[in-house]
């Protein structure tokens, strides 16, 4: 009798996968004295982070295939008596990844939010932010950086899947406030679609008897920032600094039994 091409001859089940993921507190600095921004692009970026282990999520006892996203922030205030344009340039390992500008109203605090997808982001990489202004009177005094999980993508069929999803903004910075849309969706994915966090209702332990991870990029889990929403944006507020972009947190635990199935 002909053998099904889907039968590998190997046992149907493999050993159970059971991992936890913890996320570091953001690396934040609030300067005691605000620093004036120049009116032309500075030769050296005012803010530069070299990604260290303390910035990274920690997987235990091992990592699943995943994509990282760095969130970096800069903040300050327009102390001038009129609206002023703030310009920025963001570099990754010395290569430009974004430029832009925005007008900051007189007296307002501003925040630059970097949540851009960078392929192959890794320990030791540098993220640098240069800031300058159209007219004097603008200062910066705040910076922060953290690396998050943007997507988790084990390419397998699985049984008895459990994904522990807390309900916590990431990052949660110690000062300022997140955007109104900060609790934007994250998604549990399969190879044919996704379920967003509004539908799931967080916190939640998502469970499924049988599941298939494998959608390009997203795989099993996809956060808002990084692969889904890759950007650098400028926000401002009359009193919040930082007034920052955050998304709902990534899983803290994932467990499943991989299946030896070809699909």
């Amino acid at each position: 009798m002909a053998r099904s091409p889907n039968c590998t001859g190997a046992p149907l089940f493999k050993g159970r996968v059971d991992v936890t993921i913890t996320y570091p507190d953001p690396d934040e600095t609030l300067l005691e004295t605000p620093v004036a921004l120049p009116t032309s692009e500075p030769a050296e970026a005012q803010i530069s982070y070299t990604l260290a282990s303390g910035h990274m999520p920690v997987w235990s006892p091992y990592e699943l295939p995943h994509i990282l996203v760095a969130n970096a922030y800069a903040g300050g205030q327009n102390t001038a008596g009129s609206a002023t344009t703030l310009y920025y340039r963001v570099r990754h390992n010395g290569t430009d990844i974004a430029t832009g500008s925005g007008s900051v109203s007189a007296g307002n605090f501003w925040t630059l939010n970097m949540y851009k997808y960078i392929a192959g982001l890794a320990l030791g990489d540098t993220i640098a932010i240069s800031l300058w202004v159209g007219a004097s009177g603008m200062t910066w005094d705040y910076k922060a950086c953290v690396v998050k999980v943007s997507a988790i993508s084990p390419d397998v069929s699985m049984a008895d899947l459990k994904i522990v999803l807390p309900n916590k903004k990431r990052p949660t910075l110690t000062i300022g406030n997140p955007f109104w849309w900060s609790e934007s969706r994250v998604e549990v994915c399969w190879d044919g679609g996704q379920i967003d966090s509004n539908t799931l209702g967080l916190p939640k332990t998502f469970t499924a008897l049988l599941w298939r991870s494998g959608r390009a990029n997203a795989g099993l889990f996809s956060a808002q920032f990084g692969v889904t929403n890759s950007n650098v944006s400028l926000s401002q507020h009359t009193s919040y600094r930082p007034y920052y972009a955050a998304d709902t947190s990534a899983p803290t635990a994932i467990s499943y039994t991989p299946l030896n199935l070809r699909v």
Binding site: S40, E41, T85, Y87, R89, T95, D96, I97, A98, T99, G100, S101, G102, S103, K116, I118, W132, G134, S230, N231, V232, S233, L234
Partner: protein, 62 residues
């Protein structure tokens, strides 16, 4: 409202002067803010409805 233009026709963004020149061009047509991604070669512009951004390329969505 956000507008996205892939492969835009814009001043060189590798210098501060280029960034400020693009800013002046965009503000002249009513932009409130913008961002350019080198990796994606994509310009994102925030501004009012019905902005005429045709000088910069084809608006993808918005």
């Amino acid at each position: 409202m956000d507008y996205r233009i892939k492969n835009p026709t814009i001043p060189d963004q590798s210098t501060g002067q280029g960034v400020m020149a693009l800013d002046a061009l965009l503000r002249a047509v009513g932009a409130e803010g913008w961002g350019y991604s080198f990796g994606d070669d994509t310009l994102t512009v925030t501004g009012p409805l019905d902005m005429d951004l045709s000088a910069f390329g084809v608006v993808e969505d918005g």
